[in-house]
């Protein structure tokens, strides 16, 4: 197998035209007769021409590269997102470069700089940085960037309405007659971008405040479900990870529990967990459409509450 299938230079020789003409034919630029264009296209197909992204990139064209920068692949959301993005890229002949920040702010900067230097055609970013300087930095890049999960003020964003979604989650529990809600969220690290988590917390507060429902906000290793008066208690989790960890503990104790993200793995484990679900594929599609076609992303990806029985109606 020859590495370089065939170059525009060779195609030009073969067709007896100049390289410029080949370029016009291949890239659909005007200023070429239908006849020669077809002739060149035919030859290109016959010889299995493939554009060389490196040469294209160096010559000021597209690199056919998309960078995707996320925390890690530990939280099942990221592999799923990555998978969908790869799919979108592959469908368009693009390549996906993955970089992991491990929630290290410096490292995230390095990743972005590297990708930028690599002339990627766009970056999908779940940011751990935030603030004016960081946004200015991103905006100074002449490469489109779209944020997922954690929002930034002046950068395009695609994802769900975290606040609304968590409000719905808590309201679902309230509606089912739970009298006390325990909200489980991660410990937030100062200075980190935790926009999604902050929004979810606000959404939870919205719901419990509006309904005047007793509640506690805590972390996964500090959950205390005891009550003074035998109320029906539900554990509202800011991610499926917590729901997973707490499920075994509470499922037999008549304590409600609801997760967030609706990881399919739970179903595979035979765990019937209520959760907040949404279409990761839509996120991926929206992100790529923005980066490559400049399509402004919809405000929010829709979400929904899926009921599987871990939150039960009051008897």
């Amino acid at each position: 197998m020859k590495r370089q299938a065939i170059s525009t230079t060779r195609l030009a020789e073969i067709c007896g035209v100049s390289q410029g003409t080949v370029d016009r034919a291949l890239n659909g630029r005007g200023g070429i007769s239908q006849k020669t264009k077809e002739r060149i296209l035919a030859a290109a197909k016959a010889y299995g021409y493939r554009p060389n992204p490196h040469a294209s990139s160096i010559g000021g064209g597209k690199s056919m590269l998309i960078g995707i920068v996320v925390f890690d692949l530990h939280n099942a959301y990221f592999p799923e997102l990555l998978s969908k993005i790869e799919e979108e890229c592959a469908a368009r002949g693009y390549y996906a470069i993955v970089m992991l920040t491990h929630k290290d702010r410096e490292r995230e900067l390095e990743c972005i700089k590297s990708l930028y230097h690599m002339s990627v055609d766009g970056i999908v970013l779940c940011p751990i940085n935030k603030g004016e300087d960081f946004e200015n930095f991103l905006l100074s890049l002449d490469t489109p960037v779209i944020a997922v999960s954690n929002r930034l003020e002046r950068i395009a964003y695609i994802g769900i309405d975290n606040r609304g979604a968590m409000r719905d989650s808590a309201e679902h529990c309230i509606k089912e007659g739970y009298e006390k809600l325990i909200y489980v969220m991660p410990k937030l690290k100062d200075g980190d971008n935790a926009h999604a988590q902050e929004e979810r917390l606000l959404g939870f507060r919205d719901a419990v405040t509006a309904a005047s429902v007793p509640h506690v906000i805590t972390h996964v290793d500090e959950v205390d479900t005891s009550t003074d008066n035998g109320q029906r208690v539900a554990v509202v989790c800011s991610s499926d990870l917590y729901a997973q960890m707490l499920y075994q503990k509470y499922k037999d104790k008549n304590i409600g529990i609801i997760g967030f993200d609706d990881q399919r793995m739970l179903g595979e484990l035979g765990i019937a967990m209520d959760s907040v679900a949404y279409d990761v594929s839509a996120t991926a599609k929206g992100a790529i459409a923005y980066l490559l076609d400049g399509v402004k992303p919809m405000q929010y990806i829709p979400h929904r509450i899926v009921k599987r029985g871990s939150i039960q109606s009051a008897p």
Copy 2:
């Protein structure tokens, strides 16, 4: 931020030398005086020089790209492997391009051709293809390829000894006094490369044959644990996925169960599952060392049985 930090051309001008000399300094090729070398290196650092991989690639040098081709990111093993490979790549200034085959043989070929055309410096591949033609195709590439998980005859491989590992798993159960073993493995698709699964099956057979232990070989949705005479039964799974799915079902029935791959997620779920563990990081390191340094991989990554109580000693 300028996209191209600074080029060798500019560096040459700045230092008042030729581009060739700059190249010699930068790439540590001989034939240059210590003095000028240091001067150039200093300037490079001062101006924040970064090599342009596209130009390098097009000029016949390295592309700084590693391709990783796997089935999907669904089986937790792959995200973990990918994560470790990204880490290795990042540490060396390389970029990792992910491509997913979804176990489609044609698609796998497309992925590899694309990566090859992209001039990647190496490919980590979990193959779904097999056979002489496929191997010849891989060998015809002037890009190193290393197989993980599924072995190929004439292609470098890195991973565990699947046969030995499963033998150990089954022997572990036998040693703990289980009198009947049920082996749970996937349905294999004809023509697909399923080397790892085939080896594991052989290993299971090795163990039960040597010890003359009654056994059944079946699939996850067809497991039947009933016995005629109340023997102690253990379910031996060819992957943690099955162990996950069956755990809930059997954990209270005094039926032993053991998985394969030791996915950390199980621990997070509070599931104490015996399993076959090994160091994915070693696989990643070995793979990259082979691709980039030509270091022949060790024959097998070591594995071990981790005991957490889902296989119990006979009373």
